[in-house]
């Protein structure tokens, strides 16, 4: 599984905002750094297919060599994690995970229990998402994304809401799960520590390599 951004340009009212090309190999992490408002999140929206109509996108997004640029979000199979875990408040933890499972998954319940165990959250299935700690929510959100069987993973500053100690642990947990599954990962952050921990290349929205 590889994620390739082929001469991607995003412009608003004719003014270019983002311009880059990149190739992310399975299990690798590419980090995109820059101050807030520079267009990082806009790029992520473009990759998953949720770019607001005020922006104009050119270039191609290739997943495993296949052009997905014209597909709607739900057919791209690109998973995303936001800073606020964005768990659905009306569903239980298990309900959130079940929402992500493809319809023909065998043993749905057993797989949810496995995912919870993998995240160190045994028995959390019936819990209300609103009662979880920030770290627990982040782990549930990751397992939910993975249960949908994505072919690439985008991280939109998913560690920013966590304190330093928990941050390092969650970060390692996410990168390890992605490596095990061979997912290409695109991390967007303004934190140099996140970028160092990711271990891969670091780019700015202009497509140029950044030194940490």
């Amino acid at each position: 599984m590889t994620l390739e951004l082929d001469r991607i340009t995003i412009a608003r009212d004719g003014a270019p905002l983002v311009s880059l090309s990149a190739r992310i190999e399975p299990g690798q992490v590419l980090t995109l750094m820059g101050p807030s408002g520079c267009g990082k999140s806009t790029l992520l929206a473009a990759i998953i297919g949720a770019l607001p109509p005020v922006f104009a996108l050119s270039g191609r997004i290739l997943l495993e060599g296949r052009d997905v640029t014209a597909l709607p979000i739900e057919h791209r199979r690109i998973g995303i994690l936001f800073q606020e875990a964005t768990l659905f408040p009306h569903l239980s933890v298990a309900g959130n995970l079940a929402f992500a499972q493809p319809r023909r998954t065998p043993d749905r319940g057993a797989r949810i229990d496995e995912a919870l165990a993998e995240a160190g959250l045994e028995g959390f299935g019936p819990r209300d998402p609103a009662t979880l700690s920030g770290g627990q929510r982040a782990r549930v959100a990751l397992m939910r994304t993975l249960l949908a069987e994505p072919r690439a993973l985008l991280l939109d500053e998913p560690f920013s809401g966590l304190d330093t100690d928990r941050r390092a642990r969650i970060r390692d947990f996410v990168f390890q799960r992605a490596r095990e599954r061979g997912l290409p990962v695109l991390l967007v952050t303004h934190d140099a520590e996140d970028a160092r921990a990711a271990g891969g290349h670091v780019l700015g929205v202009d497509g140029l390599e950044t030194d940490l």
Binding site: A50, L51, P72, I73, L87, F88, A130, P150
Partner: protein, 572 residues
Amino acid sequence: MPVRATTGARPPGAVALFPPLTVLLLAGPVLAGVAGVLLPAFGFMPALGGHALSLDPWRALWAWPGLAAAVRLSVVTGLAATAISLAITLLIVAAWHGTRSFALVTRALSPLLSLPHAAAAFGLAFLIAPSGWIARALSPWATGWDRPPDFLSVNDPAGLALIAGLVIKEIPFLLLMTLAALGQVDATRSALVARTMGYGRVSGWMKAVAPRVYAQIRLPVFAVLAYSMSVVDVALILGPTRPPTLAVQIVDWMNRPDLSHRFTAAAGAALQLALVVGILALWFAGERLAGALGRCWATGGARGRRLDPVLRPLALVLAGISAGAVFLGLAGLAIWSVAGMWRFPDLIPESFSLRHWQGQARGLGAAVQVTALIGVASTLAALVLAVGCLEREFRIRRPTDRRLSALIYLPLIVPQVAFLPGLTTLALVAGVGGTVAAVAVAHLVFVLPYVFLALSDPWRAWDTRCATVGHSLGAGPNRVLWAIRLPMLTRALLIAAAVGFATSVAQYLPTLLVGAGRVATLTTEAVALAASGNRRLIGVWAVMQMALPFTVFALALGLPALIFARRRGMAP
């Protein structure tokens, strides 16, 4: 070569049909109704035997001796009720916005929105009547009366009771509309900035915030103006009788067994429409004038700090009188409904009895069924249409369609009495007059705007990243709608449904006219008792009329708490 990429917008699919359907259901009946009034107003309505254009209907209208007084009443009542309720509303917000008293006042007033106008009017009538609670509380020690005095405090020829009844019901409406507008104009910070410059609370708010708030609540104000000029049920209960208001007289002509009076009614309805259009034009001119004067006032620099000690208590007193009149009135209705012997000037009855409730049980049961059926049907249809329009707007990722938003107000601004007679005639010609289904369709015209207004803000405030996450997990647009958005908006949907249901319950004129007098709801039955003067009977029906929408509101507020008892993230 660059590829044209898809964005978050997607083809709307079948939901694209909802806006045109909504426009058709809102504007269609209004326009058809106006046409159905204008044609017979000039003598043309083959179904009623009018085959040639003529001015006879206008001559008949002209020959009615009460015309001048009725026109004057319509204009004075509309302008006075609108100006007074708008002034009190703005004063309350200017004087108390951001304080704990303000939160208390708004919490006390907001349930009144679900109260049918007729119930509030009956309550006020019982309060201010010569034998009402106010007279009883002051007698005989202050007034010397040991029997009810002989004067007209209800149905007074000047229409003062009518104006009062409209004001106490429109203040909660305008207040809630103002509250919704406050969030959109950055009111709190503007008011704060004005106060740091040394402005008093009231004058700072009036100068810095009120113009922007007013721009946001203009359409609701127009709706109040048009409604106050042409209301029928409140006028039947509180308004003058000889002559009545123009709107009441039109309905009287409509209900005469001799169908030729319908031509006179049509001419009257056309006149009523012209009056509302004319007064709206006058109001526009008044807005300009007030704007020019207000700019001079706002840039004059006067801080107005000494106004606060006078205006702030005054605002609280006015809010208290307004809310108190409604709540005491409702309490009065409830007590009359179970009163046995009740002599003047006793404050409470000597004995209590459920006799009238028992006597009316069968009639009440039947009316509740019909009322609930029409309310549920029109509310469900309105919810489906509103959700469809809002979902389309979301799927094509375009901002709010301003024309649709303005059109929503059309049935609220064109007076009911100006187009329902026409719609009634058309329903009669089509052979569906007098059916429950036709009444439900007529109710939908008024239920839909309120459901739309109640639902659109929470719908648009929903965090659309939940949809993005849902899509990225593989869910299509319909699954995101049904499994994420609608459940997350349960509370807003139920409140919108309760608002819609209350609107339907309160409808008097569409039920009476389109129902051809054969569809008996709680409201038509209650208002029909107005002339009887039987207070115990009126009490029974009016209590039932307010209890039904209140119950639905309580359910709408309570159900989400129950369903999502174990979901803290779903708390309001």
